[in-house]
Amino acid sequence: MADSDKDQALVRLFTQRESEILAEWVSTLNLGETKMTLQEAESQGRAVLHALGKAVAHGNHGDMRSAEYADVRDVLHAFSRNRALQGFSPTETATFILSLKRGLLGQIRKAAQSEDAFDLLWRVNQLIDQLGLFTVETYQKTREELIARQSKEIEELSTPVVKLWDGIVALPLIGTLDSGRTQVVMQNLLETIVQTEAEIAIIDITGVPMVDTLTAQHLLKTVSAARLMGADCIISGIRPQIAQTIVQLGVELNVVSKATLADALALALKRTGRVVSKLKAKSLPALQEPAAEARG
């Protein structure tokens, strides 16, 4: 059997038996354990098979990096990237592609002549190994991008200053405050005070696990600097054990403090001459359209 005949056998396998291959492939996937539905598995499997069939029909089934495989790479890239972003494990991702072997081998067993079966098996094996490796590589790259982006986001998010109301800003602190970060936090807060012309700044430390002498001093400095600029600070969310620590450390936290961010906001509103009151039930504005049956 000549090489071209063997190629033809492979091409026939994909073109004539696509639906059988797909059916056997999908049936071997243990879908119950993955987060995939049957339809998803089928449509993605079909896309892979289709691209693969075209690539093989172009006469090349050895080198996945060749131009004929551009479609295959695109399909696998999109698939793998998607899995990575949706939080599938690398095993789940690769297993899906590697399971294609079962579908292909099953059809080879049924269709192929005994003498060329081994050769075909070998070719299919090599092809699928390449697909699997490509998938894992793409998965890995996507995860790395994701991690890099998340660390940057965390950095940026670590010191957000949010405007709660006209003239009222809040700085919700989360995590440990070292002296470098505190300096960034302090500058951020003071600059926001200037930009938003806020007269009251609430520093919420609900998310701060512990406060040592240095942190307490940094907080106090921030409060003093804000006062020099003409803004008042309220500290909220001091945990009981932090309150004890501060007293034991002998740091005089001589600032207005409130138990919760909500209490601090209430005080801030009051100080800026605003009242929060409850409306009567009748005059409550609807948040959603009332349901049809309620109207009738």
Binding site: M186, Q187, L190, E197, S224, A225, L228, G230, L267, K270
Partner: protein, 129 residues
């Protein structure tokens, strides 16, 4: 010798410091202000330092002195527009300017002087909360 202009707005005096202060200028400003507070029966003094790139203990002392003298003459002093980097530096230096009122800008500062009674009410609110 040059001097810093003092503007009268209602019952308040407004001083905008824009130049790098040296000793004579600071002394002259204190003298001029004292005179004008009495002359205009001013209830408040606004000192706008938003143009100042640094405030050292010399300027800090001048601001505190003006506030103390004004208080004796029954006028409030409000320092307005201190820049964030200046505020951070002053705190690190150990100068909290006790006894000096502050505001973000001249408008708020004027409200603070004009509405002495309103500010007093707000303080009461904070206490009984």
């Amino acid at each position: 010798m040059d001097s810093i202009p003092i503007l009268k707005i209602g019952s308040a005096l407004l001083v905008t410091i824009q130049v790098d202060m040296h000793d004579q200028l600071a002394t002259r400003l204190q003298d001029d202000l004292t005179e004008k507070i009495v002359q205009h029966r001013a209830r408040g003094v606004l000192i706008d330092i938003s143009a100042l790139e640094i405030v050292d203990s010399f300027i800090g002392r001048m601001l505190a002195n003006i506030a103390n003298v004004s208080r004796l003459l029954d006028a409030d002093t409000v320092v307005v527009g201190m820049r964030p980097e200046v505020a951070i530096t002053l705190v690190e230096l150990g100068l909290g300017l006790p006894g000096v009122k502050t505001a973000l800008n001249a408008e708020r500062g004027l409200a603070l002087i004009g509405g002495v009674s309103a500010a007093g009410e707000a303080a009461d609110d904070a206490d009984d909360d």
